[in-house]
């Protein structure tokens, strides 16, 4: 009996150490990021660092086109993925017959497992020519193409989290809606979806986090031209995102140079942006809990 206690203690400690170490790793990574990236904010004058010209090999470190590029691509992705994702979640949870749900749910999870480089290659060879010909744009490697691919990548996240949120709406809400004489459509649209809205908001935030942090696929389909997306047609012109910039330039940069520090500085900006997104998402979940009734 004593040995059993000892074993249990050993296993418990092991699991505890593993759990705590994940926090430790996050902290260490953040410290590393700060150590490598903070010098950028001292080495480069602010008007250069937040300027509009990104020519890092010539000392021009304007990150503004990169930040705006990331935001434009992410916003496009969410604008496409939000209606599609919520509609799919509603269909899977509220409308689809049992057997269809059994097929659809694993299929959606498989979507999440497609490697991003495969999607990027698909985007580069199939989607980009299609976009160029359909929109008669000079090139198919545009912010819009990146948005399409990212929307596809954010969809599984949005669908499964939104579906969980709909699932958490008590059956009594639906019964009450139908008993009042509302049609199924009215019940879904006016009762169930509003009741689940904070969960759906979380889904969108998580999808957005996925989209803004995605690198490979975006780098392959957005063309990576560091131009300011300020003209009206910018959506259908190339852009350069923050993640693609880091990924593309880190391999060739001289270690310890200003350019190296600026790339990590962009990493800090990205970290802050995703952290804020997660914070907002966590806040939404917290609010949902506090309101009660909805588990």
């Amino acid at each position: 009996m004593r040995s059993k206690h000892w074993i249990e203690f050993a296993i418990e400690s092991l699991i505890r150490v593993l759990g705590l170490s994940s926090i430790g790793f996050v902290l260490l990574i953040f410290l590393f990021l700060l150590k490598e990236g903070l010098p950028a904010f001292f080495e480069v004058a602010p008007e250069n660092l937040f300027g509009v010209r990104w020519y890092p090999t010539f000392g021009l470190f304007g990150t503004l086109p990169l930040i705006l590029g990331s935001l434009l691509v992410t916003a496009t992705a969410i604008a496409i993925a939000l209606p599609l994702g919520v509609a799919t979640a509603v269909f899977v949870r509220e409308v689809a017959p049992g057997w269809a749900r059994e097929v659809l749910k694993p299929m959606i999870e498989v979507l999440a497992g497609i490697p991003s480089v495969v999607l990027g290659f698909f985007g580069m060879t199939v989607l980009a020519p299609l976009v160029r010909v359909t929109l008669n744009a000079p090139t198919g490697l545009t912010a819009f193409t990146g948005g399409l691919i990212l929307a596809y990548m954010a969809l599984p996240t949005i669908i499964s989290v939104a579906e969980d949120a709909l699932d958490a709406v008590p059956k009594s809400y639906r019964d009450a809606g139908l008993a009042m004489g509302a049609t199924q459509w009215q019940t879904i649209w006016r009762v169930v979806v509003p009741a689940a809205r904070s969960g759906i908001l979380t889904a969108v935030m998580l999808g957005m986090g996925r989209a803004i942090g995605e690198t490979m696929a975006v780098m392959m389909v957005t063309g990576n031209a560091a131009r300011m997306p300020t003209t009206l047609d910018s959506l259908f012109r190339p852009v350069r995102t923050m993640t693609a910039t880091i990924a593309a330039e880190m391999g060739e940069v001289a270690r310890g140079s200003t350019h190296y520090h600026v790339l990590f500085g962009i990493g800090i900006l990205l970290f802050v942006i995703t952290f804020l997104l997660n914070l907002v998402a966590a806040g939404a979940i917290f609010k949902k809990r506090r309101r009660g009734g909805l588990r």
Partner: protein, 304 residues
Amino acid sequence: MVARRWLLWAFLLTVAAGWLGACAPGPTDEGTQESAQVAQTIENKGSDTLVNLAMAWAEEYMRLHPDVRISVTGGGSGTGIAAMINGTVDIANASRQMKPEEIAAAEANGIRPVEFVVALDAIAVVVHPSNPVDRLTLQQISDIYTGKITNWSQVGGEDRPIVLLSRESNSGTYMYFLEHVVRLGDKESDLLFSPDALLMPSSEGISAEVRQNPNAIGYDGLGYVTPDQKIIAVAREPSGPYVLPSVETVNDGSYPISRPLYMYTAGEPTGVVKEYIEWILTEGQALVPELGFVPIEGGGGSAD
């Protein structure tokens, strides 16, 4: 409950066994064939432009000298040079010369890098096969890439917008093209690529876009140009001659856009690394044209 506990134990044992296995030096497979002499290893890392050629050299050299093991990885010129400075690799491959700050970092580590020119790379200017333009002067290419010429009709083509494709700003190819084509070799010039230029992360990115987009113009190492792209004949002066890139035209100097590729060692190489580099500079050159690069003439040598 009992079954579950057994599963847990089995899992822990597997993890432990795997960990031990990974830590052990693995004498079983290597020790038997090379019992008398421990295999000598050369670590070789750097430029993605050079990686295929470096791998071909390594494979051939290992076939000729079974007691030498050479591992080749890409990752970029900067990565390779940093690894050489840190002492984790013996040879760094680079498609550009070392920058002053990298040399300073090496000297701070007590290392004097030695440079070898191991091959030449012709840079081809490519367009879509349906594009009627088949010849350009260096001045026209420069004007195209700075954004002064924006329509193909300005250089004798159809009325289409020009889509500029470039390699990433840190790649050796980009720097070479900027200095020798966009700035036409003028050191005082401060011309830059147009901000509308698409920076493609890979040679395949450029190929894929040139292949399908009749508006596109791109440049890349000759070894990476596939037959479904059209190579532009380039002239120094508008009066010509317009020359297509090839081993002959690069070596006789008539094709204007070619650059050296480098290997760097930490200090003068010794022992097996020295033999390997000497082999690359002599017999190894026979492999160079097979990969689409241009061999150095007369065996080359240290350009330190």
